[in-house]
Symmetry: C2
Subunit: 252 residues, 2 copies
DNA sequence: AAGTTTGAAATGTATAGACAATTATAGTTA
DNA sequence: TAACTATAATTGTCTATACATTTCAAACTT
């Protein structure tokens, strides 16, 4: 039980379930409760604060719908691992077809090295002059020998584990951060734009210069909202599209 | 009370709240309960099916989180109007700035007419040869005398109200359908792609030919999932971008 | 040793009731 | 007539309890 008492005011106008929800949310956010860990049982919370179990369940239901915990009947309720690959920019179409047809779908590491920081990079990471080094990756995503996207990634350099492997287990930016730095990716901001591709990008992807492409810039943050990774990806405009369904769309 | 009894099986392994949720969902979808209308009160449902009010509330909570109804303390619970402009393709940046700074932001009708159907159009609407006419609109979105996007829209022609006004109250595709046809827009599918703009589009938007642009194709459906509107919009690539936040992002 | 049974612990569903907060309406009063 | 007041109706919060379902591990049996 990590929870502290004297933080829930039963006489407040703010509902108890909401106070408890905020309390648990804060503990999870701060890392007092870590992903995979069990949160206290409903009975424990209930008796600790002397509130009804139904009220506790209401608070936990909010956490579940926020995607921060998941409950398993008979086992307990556990802190979820932040999902940093949401549906919004899940560029589908081609990727979908690839998965359905089981085609070859691989990420190739073109380059990985330690680089010196310049001002632009330090600004992106909101860091001072004392940070001198970053990790730098260049990867290509391809299917059936056709190159589909090209991505440049930067992470903060950590002395502790600067192991640069040729084989990338998880080539995503959050994955690289988790593997090669001491930081834990917790949230991300993605910006999608359109652009005409440069000659370099065109030659790597095997398309004509100035072809229209998707351009996705991503910044990954740790639990303190400190930027710990940045990437810029270029996706072939003729291979990707984005679909969404609105309103009372019936999935069944 | 539109609800029929003998449709909830208390001895079933399927939870009562879920049966009730599905029942209400179906009634709303079918149009037995129309947008703006109140659904039966919790007490009515509770006593009608002889189930607890808390169980009814659980079912209604599911409807609320599905966005199909909204509750107002002291008044009742009402069927929501389907929101056909979700956040996914809410191309922001520029539009956001416009709203914040209160700039001039208007949609201009370039053209509106009744057209003859060709095969391509009939296919898009999944209609037979007996449908001969469609409504056709061309609009431009501009801010401070700068044109930002260009859109072509088609809807099924309804004899009943083919009034083509010069002033468009709601120039969105769902709005045009609601105003100029007998159909009620209930859901939509949007596909976002990148493209190099054509010469026509370039001259309308005042940009260079082959400039990269966002291209959004939208199909709007009525409650029976019958396509009743289709549009193709071109957004200036240098004015729009799309941002999303992932993971345990803290909004506060 | 291996499989089976039992029971405790945890979440899931459901009930009945109480009171609070909000809204609308009908009634009362100035 | 207009403004205020009481009341009823409706949703919101909370409690206490009961039993179901699932999981896990300890105890038991073969």
């Amino acid at each position: 039980m990590v929870i502290q008492t004297d933080m829930i005011d039963k006489s407040s106008v703010i509902p108890i379930y909401y106070q408890l929800f905020k309390l648990l949310e804060e503990q999870i956010r701060r890392g007092d409760l870590k992903p995979g860990e069990a949160i206290p049982t409903e009975h424990e919370i209930s008796s600790h604060f002397e509130i009804s179990r139904m009220t506790v369940r209401r608070a936990i239901a909010e956490l579940v719908s926020a995607g921060m915990v998941y409950a398993q009947q008979g086992r307990g309720t556990f802190v979820a691992t932040p999902k940093l690959d949401n549906i919004v920019f899940e560029l589908n179409d081609f990727n979908q077809e690839i998965k359905q047809r089981g085609l070859n779908y691989k990420t190739t590491l073109l380059e990985a090295k330690i680089i010196r920081a310049d001002k632009e990079l330090r600004d992106k990471f909101e860091l001072g002059e004392d940070y001198k080094r970053f990790l730098y990756f260049r990867t290509v995503l391809s299917a059936e020998d056709e190159r589909l996207s090209y991505e440049v990634k930067y992470t903060i350099y950590s002395k502790s584990k600067p192991i640069l492997e040729t084989e990338l287990k998880d080539p995503s930016l959050p994955g690289l951060i988790a593997t090669h730095t001491e930081y834990v990716p917790m949230s991300a901001k993605k910006v999608l734009q359109v652009a005409a591709c440069t000659e370099e990008e065109a030659s790597i992807l095997g398309i004509a210069s100035n072809s229209p492409v998707f351009l996705i810039e991503q910044t990954v943050y740790d639990q303190d909202l400190k930027p710990v990774g940045w990437s810029k990806a270029v996706y072939r405009g003729d291979r990707y599209k984005l679909t969404s369904y609105d309103g009372w769309y019936k999935k069944d």
